[in-house]
């Protein structure tokens, strides 16, 4: 029996949902754009946001780090992406996948989808193998193919669901763009549809299996300034944390797993307060 089957568990407390909502609103503060369809062109767009938020979304006031990275890699003349990589490295070293749990707009969308009462099957046989897919997406679609195919941001073009949402908004607000949409848009709609439907059944399928940003930040989970700490002396190995984890990790064994999005469900579930998320050495 799946530990989440037949019930819709609250996505890590109202506080986190509130922070996610505020972060999404801040990153998409060009509200006028949602009605006019015109994208924001102000100076804040020279700064990459930490999460997955398409810069072609009419609401976006920042640049997408994945899109910007591919733009540098697939340019006619290769330029090493110091700036974008620096931002990713800085954010990763500071927060790791806290970004996924608290700041990513597409993460919020998936959290809301999972709250919808529906058939839940969060653990299945292929789950652990599909997790590796996101590393392949990062390596192949975000790095290798853009390097080999000039002017082709492969991940954005064929997969990115955030871009598809931007496309849907443009479809309804920009008649010129609507008239140009064809097979590629249909393909992207299918990809988005699969992610949305699977998001009703599985918790955060895009983050688990496809997100290149989550794959990148995952490497920093062990070293990030803000990370999870387990007090071995307090842990009674009751598995309450593992049972609470919707990313299917056992925090008592791997508190800094690359899959952990720092939602804090395990921290709240621990009866002995053996887990905490914070900066090591800053405890009172």
């Amino acid at each position: 029996m799946d530990k989440h089957e037949g019930k819709t568990k609250h996505c890590g407390g109202g506080v986190r949902l509130g922070i996610q909502a505020v972060a999404t609103l801040i990153q998409n503060a060009n509200f006028k754009g949602f009605f006019t369809g015109k994208i924001y062109t102000g100076k804040s767009k020279q700064v990459c946001v930490p999460g997955l938020n398409c810069y072609s979304c009419p609401g976006a006031i920042g640049a997408c780090p994945v899109g910007s990275l591919q733009n540098f890699l697939s340019g006619r003349k290769f330029r090493f992406p110091y700036y974008v990589l620096g931002i990713l490295l800085f954010v990763g070293a500071l927060l790791g996948r806290v970004v996924c749990g608290f700041l990513c707009p597409f993460g919020l969308l998936q959290d809301l989808l999972y709250l919808i009462p529906f058939y839940k099957k969060n653990q299945f046989l292929l789950d652990k193998y599909l997790r590796y897919l996101k590393y392949a997406v990062l390596a192949v679609l975000v790095i290798i193919l853009p390097l080999c195919l000039p002017l082709t941001p492969t991940f954005c073009k064929y997969v990115c669901p955030s871009g598809t949402i931007a496309g849907i908004i443009s479809y309804f607000t920009q008649p010129i763009i609507r008239s140009q949409m064809g097979k590629l848009f249909s393909w992207k709609l299918i990809v988005l549809g699969i992610i949305v439907v699977s998001g009703l059944i599985v918790y955060r399928p895009f983050c688990k299996y496809l997100c290149p940003l989550g794959a990148f930040y995952g490497f920093f989970n062990r070293f990030a300034l803000v990370r999870m700490h387990l007090d071995e002396g307090k842990c009674v190995h009751c598995s309450a944390c593992a049972n609470a984890c919707k990313m299917n990790i056992d925090p008592s064994r791997k508190p800094n797993s690359m899959e952990c999005i720092r939602c804090g469900d395990c921290v709240r579930a621990c009866p002995k307060s053996a887990l905490y998320i914070g900066v090591k050495g800053s405890e009172k």
Binding site: K45, Y82, G167, S282
Partner: protein
């Protein structure tokens, strides 16, 4: 003493933060912020599914 302990326990994160900050500074110096703005202030046709 506590400050020393804090640095010791987070040395890798601190080094990576410094590296990240250095890369950002070098990127800004080489005009890469403008390149990001240039791309982000135009509609990315591939991203929205036009190609």
């Amino acid at each position: 003493m506590k400050k020393h302990f804090l640095i010791e326990k987070n040395i890798i994160a601190i080094l990576l933060l410094l590296l990240g900050a250095g890369l950002i500074a070098f990127g800004i110096h080489s005009g890469q912020m403008k390149a990001v703005l240039n791309k982000a202030s135009r509609v990315c046709m591939e991203c929205i599914g036009i190609g």
